[in-house]
Amino acid sequence: MSIPAEILIKMYRAMLRIRRFEEQIWEVYTSGLMHGLAHLYIGEEAVAVGVCAALRDDDFITSTHRGHGHCVAKGGDLEAMMAEVMGRVTGHCRGKGGSMHIADMSVGILGANGIVGGGFGIATGAGLSAKKRGTDQVAVCFFGDGASNQGIFFEVMNFAAIWKLPVIYVCENNHYGEYTPTASVTAGERIADRALPFGIPGTTVDGSDAIAVYGATAEAVARARRGDGATLIECDTYRYRGHHVGDPGEGYRPKEEIEAWMAKDPIERLRKKIVADDLASEAELDAEMREVEREMENALKAAKAAPYPDVAEVKKHVYA
């Protein structure tokens, strides 16, 4: 599939933004500026970015506990995200949600989620609503391999199939749910196969390859916009770090396995491709990196300077 150079460079930049954001979160967290749980997306950037590059601003996504990458890729604001995870009032959710609940309805981010499988119903409902309202919007549901064992996954695929809903289920198979290897708790060869009994196409792609993810998503989006219904895309991927900051990520994962995945890093891979195809020079890509670095520094500075919400806000927003 031939993809315009500007999209490839946009994807490269988006992956860098996610990586730098997550590295920054690590710093912020370990220096005590952030509390609670922080699940990092480092290593999985090509999935969020490949998918979201194939979406429009008015399309929807639902995200997960490991949601920072999805939010950055769909157009979340780095400063508002950083402020949110630090509990500041300038955050996307005024500090009420935190890392696991970042949402930005203005760009179709219907919310990260603390419940494993929590996005299945919401994304499928967003697809139903798009159809009822007669738009050609699509809804993407990001979820993990672990979430694919929740019963509601099968319920929503049935809904999506009988009503031909414009939903794309994107499984991020990073081979572990917390400390448990996926294969030990998950039947069948491929999670993608779980779509087949519903008559929904299910494909598996290399989740370290942003171009492959983009291609599979673009096809699924076209199908959904045409009115032909849902698709399940399983992305083979890996988290470099632990389940959350605080879990070293070792012990339950072989060292060689971690190294093998890091050797096919999605960002390096796309960069090589861009340079090899002469779409941009090393120098131009380095400039992108510096630009992202600047953006990140500004976001962090602004978030650190922002105030906490006034305690009076605690009772606000319970009801509309």
């Binding site: 500041r88 009420k96 696991m100």
Partner: protein, 330 residues
């Protein structure tokens, strides 16, 4: 009685290990309970002793997990099902409320469901709205379920062992902020605490503080402060919500004539309301001040620390409530 010091988490683990050694029909299943020893690391080592057959990692599927627990309990096993965060119990509500709780009654007394569900509760870790709730009132509302809510290592051990031996479905809540809390625990192997026995955690004469789970420690702190101000507070911990030891609660308020009730569930339609009505009825002629209820603020638990802190009852809140009760010292 010979005692040993251990943490709350260690007490839970020891209770499970002892019951598993004692009764081969007991097994434990849940997400990451195996080698990982739960995400709180509280059960680390159990898997080494009992292996894959009896300490079982499951898929992330709470409804199915509890459902399997019900079926296994119905047919001769004595399962312990681990639901990592109390918030996730909502995903298994049909299995708990419509199945486990009712099978005995619906079958006219034929069925037995000796199922223990252990889960966690409590805010205070900046874990936000879906990892901080204290939903024990939901379960206490359902006839057929028993609910235990231990506040100390000794209570955790004794109540957990009773839960496993009980022939009814029991939900036992551990506050995740208490896992590192230390306390003395009786050494004897058969140490159990019967359900339905409140415990007087501190004796006093002027006011009764009825508190559950981590709020017991908030009440004890408050009692300490009040003592410095010349007010003698009695702290009573029901320990199990179902069955509820109404008598001990009422007797205490008859003696002190005042009560503050503290529980980390939401205040509205919750545990404090239920206990207040029990105490009002039982101690009506003796009560000298309106009973005060303190619970989690009626909002989802917010992420941001200053907001979260504002939602949980504190010792200061308890002290202030007591000081407004017009206790006159001789």
């Amino acid at each position: 009685m010979s005692m040993r010091e251990m943490t709350y988490g260690e007490a839970v683990k020891e209770a499970i290990a002892e019951e598993m050694r004692r009764d081969p029909t007991v097994f434990l299943m849940g997400e990451d309970v195996g080698k990982a020893g739960t995400v709180f690391k509280v059960l680390a080592g159990l898997h080494d002793e009992f292996g894959d057959d009896r300490v079982i990692d499951t898929p992330i599927a709470e409804a199915g997990l509890v459902g399997l627990g019900v079926g296994a309990a119905l047919t001769g096993s004595r399962p312990i099902v681990d639901i990592m965060f109390g918030d996730f119990i909502t995903l298994a509500m049909d299995q708990i409320v419509n199945q486990a709780a009712k099978l005995r009654y619906m079958s006219g007394g034929q069925a037995r469901v000796p199922l223990t569900i252990r889960s966690t509760m409590g805010a205070g870790r900046s874990s936000a709205a879906q990892h901080s709730q204290s939903l024990h009132a939901w379960l206490a509302h359902i006839p057929g379920l028993k609910v235990a809510i231990p506040a100390t290592p000794a209570d955790a051990k004794g109540l957990f062992k009773s839960a496993v031996r009980d022939d009814n479905p029991v939900v036992i809540y551990e506050d995740k902020m208490m896992y590192a809390l230390k306390g003395m625990v009786p050494s004897k192997e058969n140490y159990t605490i019967p359900f339905g026995q409140a415990d007087i955690k501190r004796e006093g004469d002027d006011v009764t503080l009825i508190a559950t789970s981590s709020m017991v420690h908030v009440a004890l702190d408050a009692a300490h402060t009040l003592a410095e101000q010349g007010i003698s507070a009695e702290v009573v911990d029901p320990r199990t919500l179902v069955p509820l030891d109404s008598e001990t609660l009422i007797d205490s308020v008859v003696k002190t004539t005042r009560a503050v009730i503290i529980d980390e569930g939401h205040k509205s339609f919750g545990i404090t309301g239920e206990i207040a009505s029990v105490v009002y009825r039982g101690a009506f002629d003796y009560i000298d001040a309106p009973i005060v209820r303190l619970g989690a603020m009626d909002v989802p638990v917010p992420f941001s620390k200053p907001l979260e802190d504002a939602t949980i009852p504190t010792a200061t809140d308890v002290v202030n409530a007591v000081r407004e009760m017009g206790i006159e010292k001789a």
